[in-house]
Symmetry: C2
Subunit: 151 residues, 2 copies
């Protein structure tokens, strides 16, 4: 179980490092990768490796929370690209000390629907990093001239 | 740890059942709920309960994967509303047998960017339920007249 959590942590760390040999070494040769939001699937380690190697842009990943049990795991991380920072999460299935399935999600920001202002406070872009020091990163979405603060 | 996983499973099950007393009983009175996509935060069990009770529509939740350790947990679930089925996930923090923090994500579907067709297959709306029987649900997004199949 510690082993599976370690697999999930190394998945993010080796991607961030572009250590392709180490990254591919975590994967079962028949790994299946799925992106449900776009209904995309990649079958096999070789194609999945190529997908990541070819992914455009100077993207970076910063781990936030990793959880794993004997069969499933998840890595919640931030990804930074083109001055934006967003949350993302990859779910894993494990077998025999390897990752056999990866399913990831890339949520986008949105404005809340009206009608719940009486219950909700909002934070300014960039403010969460200050609120939660362990996850602090340099964010580029602060509004110029506005000091980020929690409502 | 089994206790925390049980908390995460009951969180989804009691929401689905609108068993508000049981649901609120899982939460620390000072629970903090956050929706990073909309930068919304609700402080405290009472307001969080009201938020869910007031949430409009005949929404339903179906659990897919739950993982927890001694401090963190996640529930990956489907939510059904107005004929749509989407994935969503709630991350938890635990203390003293209660949920002290909930952070959830509501990813939306999107079309993939061009340039990776040589690596990727796509499935039709509704097809994943057929591919993965353990998670099978009745989906309403199938294209009329088209038999869902995996590419």
């Amino acid at each position: 179980m510690g082993g599976n959590r370690d697999l999930a942590e190394r998945f993010i760390a080796t991607l961030e490092a572009r250590d392709w040999d180490a990254w591919a070494g975590l994967l079962h040769p028949g790994v299946v990768y799925e992106i449900p939001q776009s209904r995309e699937r990649i079958r096999g380690r070789d194609r999945y490796l190529r997908f990541n190697q070819e992914y455009p842009g100077d993207w970076h990943l910063r781990p936030k929370v990793t959880i794993a049990d004997e069969r499933h795991g998840v890595a919640w991380f931030e990804w930074l690209l083109d001055g934006r920072t967003d949350d993302a999460m990859a779910f894993f299935e494990f077998a025999d000390g390897l990752i056999t399935r990866v399913t990831d999600f890339w949520p986008e920001s949105y404005e809340p629907p009206p009608g719940r202002e009486h219950l909700v406070e909002r934070w300014l872009p960039g403010a969460l990093a200050k609120l939660r020091p362990p996850h602090a990163v340099t964010r580029d979405r602060s509004i110029p001239g506005v000091t980020a603060s929690v409502a």
